[in-house]
Structures are given as C-alpha cells and as structure tokens.
Symmetry: C2
Subunit: 298 residues, 2 copies
C-alpha cells in the first residue's frame, strides 16, 4: 500500500494543479466570489471523483487530456454541493474538513453565489474542453457531459439531497435509504467511472463491469461515512461525529446495525474487485482505490 499512497498523493497533486490552472483566466470578476469558490475547492478534498474518472480512463488507454476538464468539472460540482449542504437553511454545519464552512467565512449570500458559481463554472470548464474535438470523439464527450449533468441534477444528486432532508426526524424504509445513498453520493461516483469509460470508448461489457464497480464502491463509500459518523475520530474526520444522530437521521447503521454495515462494506469491496478482474492488470490502481475507500478513516 505504500506505493499506492505515494502514487495517490502524486495524482492528487496533479489534479490540484489542473484545478488551479482552470482559474487562471478569470479577469474582471469581483475578487470575493473567486476567493470563496477557491476556499472550498482548496480545502483538502480527497479528489475521489476526478481520480476515479481519470484512472478509469487511463486503465482503458483513453486520452487523459480529453477527460481532464470533465474530471475538474465533477470536482467543482461536488464542492458546490458541499457548500450548499452546509448552509444554515440546510444541514447548518460549521466545520468541513477541519476548516470553517464557506458561509462561516464569507456569509450566507456569498456562499450561495459561490455554489452557483462553481456549478456554472463546471459547465464552462467542460464546454471549454470540447474545443478542438470533432467527429466521434466530440459525440462521446457530449455523452460524458450528459452523464455528469444527469447524475448531479434532480434525477441524481439533488434528488438524493431532497430525499435526505425529508428523512430527518423519522425512521425511513430500506427503499428510501437505498434511494438516498444511490442518488446523493452514488450517482456522481458512478458517473465518474462511466465518463472514464465513455471517453476511452470502452466495450459495452467492460463499461458495464466498471460502472458496477463504481456503483459498489459508491455505496460502500456512503456506508463507511455512516460508520465513521459513529466510530470515527474528530481529528481524522475534520468534522464533528454524531451529526446524523444530532439531525435525527436514519442511516445504514441505524437501520441495519454496525456489524451488518461492516459486513456489507466487505461484500461490496470484494464484489467491486470481482468486476475488475476480467479487465486485467491495468486496473491495479482502481483495485487499490477500492480498498482505500472501504478502509478509510476519514
């Protein structure tokens, strides 16, 4: 795992450099909105979504330069969703990744606009990335944009967030729990993998296996989140534990219990690995990424 960790660090660094470069040519903009957007973008995220997209594409010998703007966009979308989720009108959280949340630093109005700005800029970044593409590659690129926007919209992440809010202060069914997990976080993680496949022009069977991999680690990611909210360490997490209980939220753990939740993560992990096997040695990094997601402490 030591090799994996240094490789991961290097890859995160490259994503961060590209994210920074995406904000180089932004003249004539009120500085506070750029500052606020960058504050949350640079708050030490794990870059899991762009990582999954880029590494899926690489493992299929796809063009990493083509997938990069899509990968940056998905991270901007993820970041905007955190800014809006943390608002007093939503989850009302003061800490995120060990730092004050965006609205705590810039106020609610700028935090709302910074979120809007990031979602909008994600689209601008993707559209810029389409420049110079043509023919089949352009068609695939548009297909990937669609995949991202559908996963982040009302039939994906936003729908999941609405259902999550509606689940507060009551016990929900397992079906509702599934809906929330699959939409709120699962959709974007699965879309990340799928975009890697689309840009690399994967065979349908390979694409099917990889999106199932994405589906499984997306679900595992969310269950680990629920486990860490009970067993985690504030120092590792950079946010308070017990927030689900505080918000009277049903989670995978409250519905199924801690032991069953851990077993489910282990199952999802091995099912995810099973999907990668037939694709071969080039998926080594994706295999290790699955382990990282399933055993993470923050």
């Amino acid at each position: 795992m030591l090799d994996f960790e240094s490789a991961l660090k290097e890859k995160v660094k490259r994503i961060n450099e590209n994210l920074e470069a995406a904000f180089q040519q932004t003249p004539d903009i009120p500085p506070v909105i750029l500052e606020s957007m960058k504050y949350s973008l640079q708050a030490g995220g794990k870059r899991l979504r762009p990582m999954l997209m880029i590494e899926t594409c690489r493992s299929l010998d796809g063009d990493v330069a083509v997938v990069m703007p899509l990968a940056l966009a998905i991270e901007m979308i993820h970041t905007y969703s955190l800014i809006h989720d943390d608002l007093p009108a939503m989850d009302n959280d003061d800490l995120r990744r060990g730092k004050p949340t965006n609205h705590k630093v810039y106020g609610d109005a700028i935090a709302i606009l910074a979120g809007d700005g990031l979602l909008n800029y994600a689209m601008e970044t993707m559209l810029q990335g389409a420049e110079g593409l043509y023919g089949e590659m352009l068609i695939r690129y548009i297909d990937a944009m669609k995949t991202i926007m559908s996963a982040s919209g009302i039939s994906g992440m936003i729908g999941g967030q609405v259902a999550d809010m509606q689940s507060e202060n009551r016990v929900i069914s397992m079906d509702e729990m599934d809906y929330i997990h699959l939409h709120k976080t699962g959709a974007l993680l699965e879309a990340a993998v799928d975009c890697g496949c689309i840009i690399a022009d994967a065979e349908p069977a390979t694409r099917g296996r990889l999106t199932t991999y994405g589906h499984h680690i997306g679900l595992a990611f969310q269950i680990v989140d629920d486990i860490l909210d009970i067993e985690g360490n504030v120092g590792d997490l950079g946010k308070p534990i017990g927030s689900d209980e505080k918000n009277h939220k049903s989670t995978f753990v409250t519905l199924y219990g801690l032991e069953a939740s851990k077993i489910r993560v282990t199952e999802l992990h091995s099912e995810a690995l099973e999907m990668l096997k037939p694709i071969g040695q080039k998926t080594k990094f994706l295999q290790e990424l699955a382990e990282y997601i399933c055993t993470r402490r923050n």
Copy 2:
C-alpha cells in the same frame, strides 16, 4: 401595437408549452423539488430572454427547432437566479410577480435546491438538444451553449449579482453601476440575441449589429426597472416599489436623476432600432420588442 401584442401572446404561449414539455420525462424524482421548480417557472414571467433568442434566430431564417432547447435553458437560468436572489440571505423578498416567492412557499432549503436544480436542468436541456446535431451545426450549438454559460456565470450574471450586493448601503461610482447593469441583467439578454445569431449562422456584421441591439435593450431594460421602482404601480409590477431605497441601493435613477434616466432609455431605444435597420423588414418583431421593453409598465 395590437398586432404585436397578440403575436407576443401567441409566442409566449408557445414558449410555455415547450417549457412544460421539457419536464414531461422526469420519473423517480421527489415531487416537492419538481413542484418548487415549476412554481417559479410558471409564475408568469415575460419570457423575454427566450423570446429574444428565438425571434433573432427566426429573423435570420435560422432553425427555430435547434434554438428552442437553448431558449428554454436561458429561461430556466433566469428563473433560478430570481429564486436565489429572493432568499432571506440575499434580497429577502416576499413577493415576485404578484405571488409569494419560492422560499415563502417551499422553505429556504427547497428553494436553494430548486435553484440548483434549474441551473443543472438548463444544462441537461441544452445537452439533450445537441442530440442528432453534427458537423458545423454541432460546433455552432456548442458555441451557443458556451455563450449562455459564460453570460450566466461569475464573469456575467453571478459577478453582477455579487457587485450589486456589495453596492448596498453606499453610493457607488458610475463605473460600478455600469458593471452591475452590464453583468447582472445585460449579459444574459445580450447572450440571448447572440445565440440566435450563432444558430442562424449570421454574418459577422449582422451579428455585431444584433448583439449591439441586445446590449442596448439590456441596458434600457435595467434603467426602466430602476424607474419603475420609483414611478411604478404595485398592481402592475406584482412586487413592492421603493425596494431599492429600502435596501439603500444606488440605481441609475439615484445617480443620474429621473429625467436623465428617461432620456437615456429613449436614446438606447433609438440606437437599438438603428442597429436593426440595415437587416431589414424581417426584424419587425425585434423592433416592436424593443419598444415593448422601453415602454413597459411592469
């Protein structure tokens, strides 16, 4: 003008039908978010932006079916910006077009998510519209998407909204006023006209004239807004007058005075018409639209 009014009504109706159709295939989404989005979309907007885009395209013999998804998207973007602007953390307005604002009906959390959902859905709608396009038309379509997203983002509308918020409680310079007007509302109105040109593959000179027309009526639109906030009638406007004074906002009227503001609207109106002249008779509706914008009472 009677002919114009019935033509306008007919065109608004067609836009509304298309907007409704855009939400036909949305299964598996929590109903409240769809309701909230539609509540604001169907609150009786003038549909000025889609109207400008479609009629510009039509006046240049462009394909109205191709421009339609872009026109719907720009109205969704305009609507999301109103929902977020009305929030307590922003302008804190209770009434919009004579109806309670979105957050007054659905609460702040759903209003934030409905705004996010509309911005995201605008992009989904545009991407769906790209389906079946290829070659030069697809390249132009992507160019139009870029034009819209750049006009609505931090270098356009969002930047203008930030500057507008920062202008409260102090006297601002004429340069700052220009920045706010050109970005907060002007950018999207001008982009609407420009997209009509792009899809119709307008000659550069024609495109230049039409975007100048868009620029002028965008500015006139905003100055009329400032005038109506003083001289308007609550019944016509569907919102309280005097809100700029309440929010201690500098406006075109407070900086230049009422008379000079009215003269400026007349100038912008005739300069806008001047731009249309060389293009000919097919711009008749755009001419009347300019008059409608400059003489409106709400």
